[in-house]
């Protein structure tokens, strides 16, 4: 059963079965855990906040939550997965002489020139690629003999009596109005014991006659009231994100975190973390919330301390993974029947013109340049069965993606992850555009970078929140089968922050 360990109202220690706090009686079903850095989000002047050193640690970290069902392959839209254009976005790390390499990154790769259809010519490439260690970050080991790539964990039989959504606090710029305050230490059990059941015109959106009880269900028709996490919008000056439950899932298991951090040199780091809970695992919504919050906080802290971005990205993925692993009860360790909480994670960090991405799983980052000056590109390579098979040369791309196992992920964050293999890459951007960081709930409806570019609204750079909303709507219009989450980072940063430290120091 999903659980909090302390009461959010009075900090009383809770037992695993508690549905209400034994001390103050507060219901625990909708409890909001404290959000890291939330105290930095209350001031009126956003600029002042993210420019002062003291606040830079936590930055503008916001978290959001949301649902995902991307592992079965059944819900993936296979149609756009076989297109030849996929090659153009695939990056390889093989070529060491990329355009904008800096010393420490000299072993890095770049866009695979020939495939990139004009985007990857040396010296004039849209952006250099600073890849992983010599082999680059995209080589995926072939499956070990006798150990087929792990398919989506088998659906769990369902002793899940109560769902406890873990929802982030409302941030300063939250577009979602804060939830009305709950009644204090009134024992909610009394509500159901009242002899004459009161039936005023209710706040239930399903039957419009009942009222929503403290456990989130209508006391008349039983329908679950919409949760804060069903649709979440956040924006900071330089980045925005939207997460939505979609049309076919009962819960949003996606989550994201946004942050800005001031670098020691006065530059600004813009951070977006997007996670997708593994539906077949236990408490996937908690996994994605924990990973996005922990990963976002780690990035904000390390980058404010001056950490090298790819190193910070690597650390943040490990931190996020540890946060998810910590959700698995210790007594379940080694139990093959326990499906530990799990999620994917993809992050993007923009510092000046340096874009760093990091990921585990099949959530993705894309670069969509403005005005057709360059080809759009996918910046990440899925940890998925199909990608592995193609990478290992065992199947053609068409065959691999037509296989029912195509979308089974081969890498994830969670206590039962066989090996943690964070991928990171950096790119120098030299033309205006937007970076998209998203879950498969979006890319299932616009898989290639070119398809995403085609549905990107005009004005994406100046209105990242509008852009994120619009992209979410694309997924919903396409059927909204999965939870959908997308973060939009304009380049150059929309408020001019990316132009540099010098201005701010002056």
């Amino acid at each position: 059963m999903p659980q909090l360990t302390v009461c959010p109202s009075c900090a009383e220690h809770l037992e695993p079965e508690d549905k209400f706090c034994g001390n103050c009686g507060a219901p625990l079903a909708d409890a909001d855990p404290p959000l890291l850095g939330a105290e930095h989000l209350t001031g009126a002047d956003a600029d002042a906040e993210h420019l002062t050193g003291a606040d830079a640690d936590a930055g503008h970290l916001t978290g959001a939550d949301a649902d995902a069902e991307h592992l079965t392959g059944a819900d993936a839209d296979a149609g756009h997965l076989t297109g030849a254009d996929a090659d153009a976005e695939h990056l390889t790390g093989a070529d060491p002489d990329a355009g904008h390499l800096t010393g420490a990154d000299a072993d890095a790769g770049h866009l695979a020139g020939a495939d990139a259809a004009g985007a990857g010519r040396d010296g004039e490439s849209a952006f250099g690629v600073i890849g992983d260690a010599p082999t680059g970050s995209y080589s995926l080991a072939p499956p070990a003999p006798g150990h087929p790539p792990q398919a989506a964990p088998a659906p769990q039989a369902a002793p899940i009596p109560v769902t406890v959504p873990v929802s982030s606090s409302t941030a300063e710029r939250s577009v979602v109005p804060p939830a009305p305050p709950r009644a204090g230490a009134v024992d909610p059990r009394q509500g159901m014991l009242a002899q004459p059941e009161p039936e005023p015109a209710g706040d239930c959106v399903s039957c419009e006659a009942g009222t929503v009880g403290d456990d989130g269900f209508c006391t008349r028709c039983g329908h679950r009231a919409p949760r804060e996490r069903d649709h979440v919008e956040r924006q900071l000056p330089t980045v925005a994100a939207v997460s939505d439950k979609g049309l076919r899932h009962h819960r949003n298991e996606d989550a994201f975190a946004l942050a800005e951090a001031e670098r020691p040199d006065g530059g600004r780091a813009i951070i977006a973390v997007v996670c997708d809970g593994v539906s077949s695992a236990t408490r996937p919504d908690e996994a994605s919330a924990a990973a996005s919050q922990a990963g976002g906080a780690q990035l904000a802290n390390d980058l404010a301390d001056g950490a090298e971005p790819r190193q910070a990205m690597h650390e943040a993925l490990l931190t996020a993974a540890a946060a998810v692993s910590a959700l698995a009860p210790p007594e379940a360790a080694g139990d093959p029947h326990f499906n530990a909480p799990a999620c994917t994670c993809v992050s993007a960090v923009l510092i000046g013109d340096l874009l760093t991405v990091g990921w585990i799983g099949d959530s993705r980052a894309y670069w969509i340049p403005a005005g057709g000056t360059q080809e759009p590109a996918r910046l990440t390579e899925d940890d998925s069965w199909a990608a592995r098979m193609v990478e290992a040369g065992l199947m053609s791309e068409a065959d691999a993606y037509a296989d029912p196992r195509a979308h089974a992920i081969t890498g994830w964050l969670g206590a039962d992850a066989e090996e943690l293999d964070p991928h990171t890459a950096s790119f120098h951007l030299d033309t205006p555009g937007v970076v998209l960081v998203c879950t498969d709930g979006l890319w299932n409806y616009a898989e290639s970078a070119a398809e995403l570019a085609a549905v990107l609204p005009s004005g994406a750079r100046t209105d990242p929140l509008g852009c994120a909303r619009s992209l979410v709507q694309v997924a919903l219009d396409g059927g909204g089968h999965d939870n959908v989450t997308v973060a939009v980072l304009p380049f150059p940063a929309v408020d001019g922050g990316a132009e540099g430290a010098g201005e701010r120091r002056a």
Binding site: E17, A157, P159, M192, R220, G222, H223, R224, R248, H250
Partner: protein, 442 residues
């Protein structure tokens, strides 16, 4: 649970097992609710505090108890063993049952309080248990009800022994007494020998939320009575109600206890309000019971979630105070187009659906056998053999093997035995509702 329990009441925990995922248009929601009471301590462990309990032992003294003569002596010895098992401070009385009911000890419409002296006095009084007269079980229960009502104890329990049919009152009279006594006290019932009617004894136990069993050999009565009294002494809290909230426009298909035995509670609902009803569960010691709840709801769209039932254990309070909620579990419904999710069957629901079918198959098979319908009896008892084997219900499998020759356990192929002992047939019938819990997965 959070700490709102009084120290002497066990802590109740509830666990819900279900597959909450329904396909588009799916309406039936099934769940197994496991309720476990712990922390009260059992009779063997508890010492000290005066027990807030009262017990009346009803012993059949009809003329048939003298055939053979050892039967009456065994009944006296068994009652003595039960008296020895009484905790100090427990109120008790002994009633002799014939076509009427007679107080044997202490008499005067009162109960005695157990201590060394009263226990000896009571055992001495058992010589007055002599066999002569008829059988009117309702009159025994009515007397027990009156005695227990005066005791003011919160745990009120009866132990009833009979050896013959309820010949000296009509079924309607017995039914009326049971209706009057239900909720006043709980009662365990035993049939000794093989001349009693299984349905009469199980009817009494079921109405009064107690156990029913056969003691075919009167020599085993003493041990059985000692165990029954030990179990009664372990009860910590009485009158616990299973409270069920269900949404508007839904239908409760059934509410059954399914472990440790099958008992259909559906018809025993007492409405609390339009969407809430109480089902009696009797008294609890340190024990665990499973309930199967089946609710039909109005289907909602894919991606929708609703609460199909809220199951709580409540304890009525005296006066105007609201009842205390001892534990609660939520039964949910989530509509999905993920076939893998919606076609999954909860192992617990499947198991207890099978156990309930097993009990029904045995009862129908034995009825058909009595009616001479060999084909139907063979089919039903064969199915029972198959279900018992599948679910690992070894006790029931052994009882079945005394009534049928098992040809193929897995296929449920059986032949009816000839010359089945009455005791074996009655044992199978009486214990047909006993279930086993879900086997742990390897």
């Amino acid at each position: 649970m959070a700490s709102f329990e009084k120290p002497e009441v066990p802590v109740f925990s509830t666990e819900v097992f279900q597959n909450e995922y329904l396909p588009e248009g799916g309406a039936e929601v099934n769940a197994i609710v496991t309720v476990t009471a712990t922390g009260g301590g059992t009779g063997a462990v508890r010492t000290g505090a005066p027990a807030d309990a009262a017990v009346v032992v009803m012993v059949d003294c009809s003329g048939s108890m003298d055939h053979p003569p050892a039967k009456m002596r065994n009944a006296r010895d068994a009652t003595a063993a039960a008296i020895d098992t009484l905790r100090d401070g427990v109120s008790f009385a002994v009633v002799a049952g014939t076509h009427t009911a007679r107080e044997i000890f202490p008499g005067g419409g009162r109960l005695a309080v157990a201590d060394a002296t009263t226990r000896e006095q009571a055992k001495f009084a058992l010589r007055k248990l002599t066999a002569s007269g008829g059988t009117a079980i309702g009159s025994w229960l009515a007397l027990a009800d009156a005695l227990l009502a005066g005791a003011g104890a919160s745990i009120r329990h009866g132990i009833l022994l009979t050896d013959g049919r309820n010949e000296h009152e009509s079924p309607q009279e017995l039914r009326a007494v049971l209706d009057a006594c239900a909720g006043h006290f709980t009662c365990d019932c035993r049939g000794v020998g093989t001349d009693w009617e299984v349905k009469e004894v199980t009817q009494v136990a079921s109405a009064l939320l107690g156990t029913a069993d056969i003691v075919a050999d009167p020599g085993h009565l003493a041990e059985d009575f000692r165990q029954m009294m030990e179990s009664a002494m372990g009860k910590e809290v009485a009158d616990v109600q299973l409270r069920l909230w269900t949404p508007a426009n839904s239908l409760i298909a059934f509410v059954k206890q399914v472990a440790p035995s099958v008992a259909d509670l559906t018809a025993r609902r007492a409405d609390v309000n339009a969407r809430t009803g109480d089902y009696p569960t009797g008294s609890w010691g340190d024990e665990s019971r499973d309930y199967h709840v089946c609710v039909r709801v109005q289907p909602a769209g894919v991606g929708q979630e609703m609460l199909a039932a809220r199951v709580s254990l409540v304890l009525p309070s005296a006066g105007d105070e609201p009842p205390r909620v001892l534990g609660q579990g939520l039964v949910r419904a989530v509509w999905t187009d993920d076939m893998a999710a919606s076609t999954r069957i909860s192992p617990q629901v499947a198991h207890y659906t099978g156990q309930a079918e097993l009990a029904g198959a045995i009862q129908q098979g034995l009825e058909a056998r009595k009616a001479g319908d060999t084909d139907r009896a063979t089919a039903k008892l064969g199915r029972a053999v198959q279900l018992a084997a599948e679910s690992g219900n070894e006790d029931t499998a052994k009882l079945l093997a005394k009534v049928v020759d098992v040809v193929d356990e897995a296929k449920g192929t059986v032949r009816l035995k000839r010359g089945v002992a009455d005791a074996d047939e009655m044992t199978l019938e009486t214990r047909s509702t006993k279930t086993v819990r879900v086997k742990k997965q390897a």
